[in-house]
C-alpha cells in the first residue's frame, strides 16, 4: 500500500516501532540536530524522530531521520523492515523495470488549505527552521523536492526535474540554492540564464517517502522522476498543479514554496556541513525570490541531519545511486553482476563483473566514470570478480589484498570532472580519478599466481540454509 503523503508514512513508522516521539520540551538548537545526529549512530534499524514541543514555538512539528536507516528505507518501499540492504537494492532494480508509470493528477491537495502571497510571504511563519551543524551559515532546507522545467522545452515531461538540492534561508522570502553543474536543475538554470530569464521553481517539503527517494536518484536528464515514483510505488504518483508556477508538484506535500531563481545573480552562501562529512566553504550561489507559500494546516517540517557519515542522507542516496549505475553498466556489459555505490553518494564505486578478455574489467571501470552520475561523483572505482560480492567489504578487501598488483592494476586519469564539494581535490571541480582492477588476470595476461583459488565447497550453500534455519529456531 503506497503512501500518498508524509503523515501516512509517519503513522506506519509509528506502528512498526520506527518513530520515536520526543515529547519533552527541547531547544531548537542544538537539541533537534544533536538528537538526529545521535539517532544516526543507532545503526541500521534506527528510528525516525518527531518533535512537537520546541522552545519558543507554538505549533512546530519537525520530523527527522525519516529515511535514516535500512529499516525505514524498507518501509518506505513497502517492504518488511527486516529486509537486508542487497535485497532492497535487488527489489529496487526489479521495480525500476516497470518504469515509466505516468503520474495521476488529483484535486484538492492538502497544501492548498493555506497560503501566503506577495508581501505577506514569510517562510519563518510556516516552517520551524533549525540549524544543523555549528559552522553552517544559517538555517537550511535540505530535504525538499525542487521542481523545474527545461526553459527551451517546457512541455517535455521527461526534461522536467524533481531534485533535492541544498537551500539556505536568507530572508522571509529569500533563499539560496546550490545547483551542482552535473545536476539537471543546473542545466535548466543555465538555459534560463542564457536566455536572460529567471527560472520558475516549486520547492515541496514534507513529501511522501518515495518522492524523496526519486528526487535523490541520479536519473538521466530526460527521465521523469514522477514516472519512477509510480514504478517504485506500484501505483501512479499523485500530483497536482502548483497555483503560481503551474509546475507539477506532489499532491501530498506539507508545504509548497513557489518563486524564481533570479537569473544571472550570485550571492554569498554557506558554508554548510555537507554529505561528504566536510563543510563546503562560502561560495557565491544563485538566489531564489519566493512569491507564494502554500501549506497544510500545522505542517510537518521534514528535515534531514547530515554530518560525518553515516547519517540519514547516506541511506537516502544508497540504493537509488546503485541502481541507475547498475542499469547503465549492464546495458553495455551484461557480465556486470552488481554495483555498490552506497559510500558517500558513489564517490567510491565497487563493481563486480565477469571478464571476457584481458582489459575487460578496466573497461568496465572506465565506463563507470562516463555514466551521468560517474561524471560528477565516481572518483575511485574498484572492479572485482563476479564471485566477489561488492557489498561484502571483507571480500572486497580480499580481492584488493591478493589480486591487485599496482604494477598493472591501477589506472589514474588526470583532470576529470567532479562536483565542487569533493573535499580531496586541489582545484574544486577537478580531480584525478582512479580505477583499481582487483579482478583475476584474464588470458593473455598471466601475471601473478591465480590459477589455484580456493572456492567455497559445493555443499556450503545447502549448509548455509540449514544453519540459518537452525539459528532461527534456537
Amino acid at each position: 500500500m503506497p503512501y500518498d503523503d508524509l503523515r501516512s508514512f509517519l503513522a506506519t513508522l509509528d506502528e512498526q516501532g520506527q518513530l520515536l516521539r520526543v515529547t519533552d520540551e527541547v531547544l531548537p538548537e542544538p537539541d533537534v540536530a544533536a538528537a538526529a545526529n545521535a539517532v544516526s549512530r543507532m545503526g541500521a534499524a534506527a528510528p525516525a524522530l518527531y518533535f512537537d514541543n520546541i522552545t519558543g514555538f507554538t505549533s512546530a512539528r519537525i520530523a527527522m531521520n525519516v529515511h535514516g536507516s535500512w529499516a525505514n528505507h524498507a518501509l518506505a518501499l513497502g517492504l518488511p523492515k527486516e529486509t537486508g540492504t542487497e535485497e532492497q537494492i535487488q527489489e529496487f532494480i526489479r521495480r525500476w523495470d516497470r518504469f515509466p508509470v505516468p503520474p495521476r493528477w488529483r484535486e484538492n491537495p492538502p497544501w492548498a488549505q493555506n497560503s501566503l502571497t506577495g508581501s505577506a510571504v514569510d517562510i519563518f511563519q510556516v516552517l520551524p527552521l533549525v540549524r544543523l551543524n555549528d559552522g553552517d551559515g544559517g538555517f537550511y532546507i535540505d530535504k525538499a523536492a525542487v521542481v523545474s522545467r527545461d526553459p527551451d522545452d517546457p512541455e517535455n515531461g521527461g526534461k522536467q526535474n524533481v531534485g533535492v538540492y541544498r537551500i539556505q534561508v536568507k530572508g522571509k522570502a529569500r533563499l539560496a540554492l546550490q545547483p551542482v553543474p552535473m545536476h539537471d536543475i543546473a542545466q535548466h538554470l543555465r538555459k534560463a540564464e542564457e536566455r536572460g530569464e529567471d527560472l520558475p521553481v516549486a520547492i515541496t517539503i514534507g513529501n511522501d517517502p518515495v518522492i524523496s527517494i526519486v528526487a535523490a536518484t541520479p536519473m538521466r536528464y530526460d527521465e521523469n522522476e514522477y514516472e519512477l515514483a509510480g514504478a517504485l510505488r506500484g501505483a501512479p504518483a499523485p500530483i497536482a498543479t502548483a497555483p503560481l508556477t503551474g509546475l507539477p508538484v506532489p499532491w501530498g506535500s506539507e508545504v509548497v514554496i513557489e518563486g524564481v531563481i533570479e537569473g544571472r545573480k550570485r550571492e554569498i552562501e554557506g558554508p554548510f556541513g555537507e554529505f561528504t562529512g566536510h563543510y563546503s566553504g562560502g561560495r557565491r550561489l544563485p538566489v531564489i525570490r519566493v512569491d507564494r507559500i502554500s501549506y497544510r494546516t500545522d505542517p510537518v517540517f521534514e528535515h534531514l541531519y547530515l554530518g560525518m557519515p553515516w547519517t540519514e542522507i547516506d541511506y537516502l542516496i544508497a540504493a537509488n545511486t546503485c541502481v541507475p549505475l547498475y542499469r547503465q553498466l549492464k546495458a553495455d556489459f551484461p557480465e556486470v553482476r552488481a554495483v555498490n555505490a552506497i559510500y558517500t553518494h558513489g564517490l567510491v564505486v565497487i563493481v563486480s563483473t565477469a571478464s571476457r578478455y584481458r582489459g575487460f574489467a578496466r573497461s568496465v571501470g572506465m565506463r563507470v566514470l562516463s555514466t551521468p552520475h560517474g561524471l560528477g561523483y565516481a572518483a575511485t572505482v574498484i572492479v572485482v570478480d563476479a564471485d566477489v560480492d561488492p557489498f561484502n567489504l571483507p571480500q572486497v578487501m580480499w580481492a584488493l589484498s591478493t589480486k591487485m598488483n599496482p604494477a598493472h592494476d591501477l589506472i589514474t586519469i588526470s583532470s576529470m570532472p567532479v562536483m565542487e564539494l569533493a573535499p580531496q581535490v586541489d582545484t574544486p571541480g577537478v580531480v584525478d580519478k582512479l580505477v583499481i582492477d582487483a579482478t583475476s588476470p584474464t588470458h593473455p595476461h598471466g601475471h601473478g599466481n591465480h590459477s589455484s583459488q580456493v572456492r567455497d565447497l559445493p555443499e556450503a550453500t545447502q549448509w548455509l540454509a540449514r544453519l540459518q534455519k537452525l539459528a532461527a529456531h534456537r
Binding site: G135, G171, P181, G196, R283, P428
Partner: protein
C-alpha cells in the same frame, strides 16, 4: 539594530523573526555575510568572542568567493 556579527564582525544586524511565544528568542541576520542565528543558540554560534576561528569570514572572503555555477554568456533567442 546594533550588535556585532559573530562571523564577520559587521555591525549592521537585522531581526528576521521573533519567537511565536513572545520574548523567548529572535532570529538575527548580518547584512554583510548573511549569517543567521537564533539568540537562544550556544555562545559558539552567537558571540563574536566565542565564534570559532575556522568559521570566521572577512569582507574579502565574501567578495572573492567562487561563483557556482558560473553565469553563462547570454544567447540571442530567435
Amino acid at each position: 539594530m546594533q550588535g556585532t556579527c559573530p562571523r564577520c564582525a559587521h555591525d549592521i544586524i537585522e531581526v528576521l523573526f521573533t519567537s511565536p511565544v513572545v520574548g523567548v528568542w529572535e532570529v538575527r541576520q548580518c547584512q554583510q555575510c548573511l549569517y543567521c542565528w537564533r539568540t537562544s543558540e550556544p555562545a559558539r554560534r552567537t558571540e563574536r568572542d566565542a565564534y570559532p576561528e575556522g568559521f570566521r569570514m572577512t569582507s574579502d572572503d565574501i567578495t572573492s568567493a567562487p561563483e557556482v555555477p558560473s553565469v553563462p554568456a547570454q544567447r540571442v533567442i530567435p
